[in-house]
Symmetry: C2
Subunit: 207 residues, 2 copies
């Protein structure tokens, strides 16, 4: 039985401690290269204690990722104010999404071989976000259409296309990176491309 594992903030500081340590470890060394032992000792607990709070490593990892996703989605949701121009919202979306990408990159960092092992988990987590992301982008597009800022369109298809395009640039950037970590210039180039792409897209759907 696990204790109250709810999302109530500020409640049980122990879970908070665990999350912090896990976030730090996963963020620095990635999923594979972080052990439960390390996380436990980081906060002065025994490994077994971790298993009292989380049934397994995947669950802990998932909790960390979900937290990051939640933050991204909340930031974005709160940015969607009635008065804002839809094109501005799209720009905000790209920016926030990129922040999330940067964080997730590290979290999921894994060796080539074990890629297949942890793929299902990573996929599940990505898909989870994707659906909500689609919904949010769709909402933005619908605001634009309602505003007469954008043409009438199939907002579902357009949202999927946009997300795919931006993800394509990210994959390209990851593929092109020499080191295991993205350099400053490589990152700047990615940002440049994303900016260009979203402008292209906005131009296409604008009235």
């Amino acid at each position: 039985m696990s204790p109250k594992n709810t999302d109530q903030e500020e409640e049980n500081s122990k879970i908070d401690d665990i999350m912090k340590a896990a976030q730090q470890r996963f963020g620095q060394y990635g999923l594979c290269k972080t052990t439960m032992m390390e996380i436990a000792t980081d906060i002065g607990l025994s490994k077994a204690a971790l298993y009292y709070y989380y049934p397994d490593k995947e669950s802990l990892f998932e909790a960390v990722v979900l937290k990051e996703q939640k933050q991204f989605l909340e930031e974005l949701t709160s940015a969607i104010k009635p008065g804002t121009k839809a094109s501005t919202l799209l720009l905000t979306y790209v920016k926030k999404r990129q922040d999330y990408f940067d964080r997730f990159m590290n979290l999921g960092k894994l060796r080539y071989e074990s890629m297949s092992t942890s793929k299902p988990l990573l996929c599940r987590l990505s898909e989870n976000l994707l659906l909500k992301e689609q919904q949010l982008v769709r909402t933005i597009l619908e605001i634009g259409v309602a505003n007469k800022e954008f043409k009438k369109m199939n907002t579902q298809d357009q949202a999927v296309f946009l997300i795919t395009m931006l993800q394509g640039f990210r994959l390209y950037a990851v593929k092109m990176q020499n080191d295991l970590v993205m350099s400053e210039e490589e990152h700047a180039a990615l940002d440049e491309n994303l900016k260009k792409a979203i402008q292209l897209f906005i131009r296409d759907i604008s009235l």
Copy 2:
């Protein structure tokens, strides 16, 4: 010493035979899963004879890839006729490039582990193509600008951006494929995205 290994067509049919067999084998089984022995016996030669014509496996593979690249580039170059609309040329480019992608996908097919081993070779070959591809796309864009079909622009930057964007969609498609080989639907989705993307791009640069 290797014999005349020039590009003169129809000359030495032996090299042609080797290339055909290699193309067939590499195309079906990929780089790793093809042995020099197989290629040799396919055309009734001893393995050692292959090494008379090509110093090593990589050279042979490279020759095959270069041949495919040459074909792609020539087809594209010959499509660039003075009278043609630049936007039509861009559409042709996307199509031909996709044909090349399909062929190359098989050629380079390799197991996950050995990816790191043969990466340098694959990278070198891709970069080789990239430069020529950039030049060709640039030429098309310049035709469009000269035609007053496209706006004035930095054709170099735009060519690089376009190529990156299209490659991004391809990477996305590869990433999303479940099997080691792309399914019919996955392929269709990729084509759809590329089509959409190039239209977006054309729309952006059109006057």
